[in-house]
Amino acid sequence: MKRLLALFLLLLSLALNAESIASDPLVEARLKSLSQELRCLVCQNQTLADSTAPLAEDLRREIRELIAKGMTDEEITNYLVARYGDFVRYRPPFKSQTALLWLGPTVMLIIGFVVLWVTLRRRNKTLPNDYEVADEI
């Protein structure tokens, strides 16, 4: 009797484990990483992963199905871009229009440091040599 009860409890505890919304955790992990790079079109300032809007749920369902069909991440992104345009991508693709966006930061950083270096050297040459190292904190 005790054994039976234990078995019953064991079964019960098995049954009571919450399931993930996804049937397949691998699919879900890919959906997650993909949808974090995509913009929800209804609320527009959330990622597809975070949004609870109905369209976002439909699109997540669509992506799950596409993953199940064996499409690659790139193919799925292209599938959505074909329907909604580059607007859905939170990480804009690198092309001629976005060259400045992607290269700008590096260019600005290089220019910034070059200008600083040149300015410091030049003013150091111009000014009379007057310093002894100060003990200021």
């Binding site: 079109l41 439909d58 329907r83 345009g85």
Partner: protein, 176 residues
Amino acid sequence: MKTQLKYLIPFVIFLMLIGFFLKGLNLDPREVPSPLINKPAPMFEQPLLNDASKTFSSNSMLGQVWLLNVWASWCTACRDEHPLLMAMSQQIDVPIVGIDYKDTNPEALDVLSKLGNPYSAVATDVEGRVGIDYGVYGVPETYLIDKEGVIRYKQIGPITVAALQEKIIPMIKGLK
């Protein structure tokens, strides 16, 4: 002189920014242009709203210019658009096909029986799959499709009188 001009750089950059903002004030950041313009309209075959045992196929429209209007009974903006659609169905000689998007049939039929039916046919899209193929993100949306089945124009949100007179009607005339 060269050193003088250097100090004007911030001002010049600022002027360029102001120019962009001035332009930006007249743009709608929420409007997403469809990449489907001048592309073949995605094919679909969906059950009819008034008779779920029959289906509507977009292929049946090949050879004529038509409007595809995505709407729903739960969409308040569609209600605003409805009178204009009614007027269009009377005055413009192209069929308006409705897609009842993510809706239940009784509620949609109820709206049409109360406000009138401007559509030559209404197909249902309960799961929103046709909507995804057409890149629908906010109902109502309206597509103008030509004789070859190519999307020529997309109206996001309710059709306005201005859009109708300046864009849709001239385009329809051109396509016919």
